[in-house]
């Protein structure tokens, strides 16, 4: 009775405490909902008109870690210039060439490179790729990268090619449809629900084939090589 009357008088305070604690818990997301963010590689031609890196591009390179220069060279934040060969983006920690909207960085303490993250809500979504083509998303992502701040089983950093988080064209960016947004690490929306397909498990090859099909059907056959490298393993 005493408790009830106390609750009655202080109910606003109680609700405030619960609301704040709820915010605290929701920022952690449950284990099968991704705590997501996005990363990208700035392309020099999107920032500079000349043939040498301009201050705006250099600033982006310092922020993002690297940037794409003409002639398929990668400029790193330390000032190194690396030849990228046939890779049009950058190599991830796995050694594979990163694929926009397919490659994802994850915590290597929880994932092997090449593990697949299945996100059913993404299946069938049309993604505008940086090369101008559109891809119907297979609903699968491949763990091909890592990052110092990407810690935990459900923490993922999605690679969006040359699209920055605030770019209008970024299908996972801050201006994307709510059910595709991946930029807010504290957003535990159900569309970020995921399961893991371990490399070498029963469903693995089929998942890779679905990714390859999506890339081929969208005219991105060049990117298939990166997936095939993962699929091969050359036993």
């Amino acid at each position: 009775m005493l408790l009830y009357s106390g609750m009655k008088t202080n109910w606003k305070l109680f609700i405030a405490i619960i609301v704040f604690s709820e915010i605290g818990y929701s920022s952690m997301c449950s284990n099968n909902v991704a705590r997501s963010s996005t990363y990208f590689i700035p392309k020099m031609s999107d920032y500079c008109s000349g043939s040498t890196p301009c201050p705006k591009f250099r600033r982006q390179v310092r922020m993002q870690g690297s940037g794409i220069m003409p002639g398929n060279k990668l400029l790193t934040y330390t000032g190194k210039k690396l030849k990228m060969g046939s890779c049009g983006t950058a190599f991830g920690a796995s050694g594979a060439c990163l694929i926009p909207f397919i490659s994802v960085a994850a915590d290597p303490r929880y994932y092997r490179m090449g593990d697949i993250i299945q996100m059913p809500s993404m299946k069938g979504k049309v993604i505008q790729l940086p090369n101008g083509r559109a891809m119907v998303h297979p609903g699968y992502f491949v763990v091909q990268d890592t990052g110092g701040a990407i810690k935990g089983r459900n923490r993922f950093d999605f690679f969006t090619g040359t699209y920055g988080a605030n770019s209008l064209a970024n299908s996972f960016g801050t201006r994307a449809q709510a059910d595709m947004r991946m930029t807010d690490v504290n957003d535990c929306d159900p569309h970020k629900g995921f399961t893991v397909v371990r490399r070498g498990s029963g469903n693995y090859q089929n998942s890779l084939l679905a990714i390859e099909d999506s890339l081929r059907n969208s005219g991105n056959s060049r990117m298939v090589a990166s997936v095939e490298k993962t699929a091969g393993g050359a036993r």
Partner: protein
């Protein structure tokens, strides 16, 4: 029951279910559970003491070189694993069965909790090789710095 109390009860119930969900599966718990002795070792699940053959195969050459260089002396610390020469390790990098044999011995040894320090060193070599090409955006570099600072006192002991 008045409306504010009803709201309070509903909010409390919702809050408790969220909390239970968090407590049910703390991150990292899965990794520790796998270490129970006697269980069949599933090397596709964490903890990852070594690169799998497939992972290793995909790496860029500079990552492979660093990994091999650091792995070799550490393998000598693994009991029941016959001494592995540099040539044998390089050959294993090209042959799934040889690699898998070494990997399995390491995983078997790592079931022993007394091997934890050695196994964590082995695991760190994998992370170091991956880190060579990991994404270095500002947020990641800052996290790396913080982790490096936290490790320094440990190493000086």
């Amino acid at each position: 029951m008045k409306l504010p109390s009803l709201v309070l009860v509903i909010a409390l119930a919702f809050s408790l279910t969220s909390f239970a969900e968090e407590v049910a599966a703390p991150p990292g718990a899965a990794a520790k559970d796998k270490e129970a002795p006697g269980e069949q070792i599933d090397m596709s699940e964490p903890p990852y003491w070594m690169f799998s053959y497939e992972e290793f195969h995909d790496l860029q050459q500079m990552q492979k070189d660093l990994y091999m260089e650091k792995l070799l002396p550490n393998l000598a610390k693994v009991p029941r694993l016959d001494p592995v020469s540099k040539k044998e390790l390089e050959d294993a990098g090209e042959w799934f069965q040889s690699w898998n044999r070494i990997q399995r011995k390491v995983y078997e040894a790592c079931q022993d909790k007394e091997m934890l320090v050695t196994c964590e060193e082995l695991s760190d070599i994998r992370l170091e090789a991956l880190d060579m090409l990991s994404n270095k955006k500002l947020e990641n570099r800052k996290a790396d710095e913080i982790e490096a600072k936290s490790k320094k006192p440990k190493k000086s002991k």
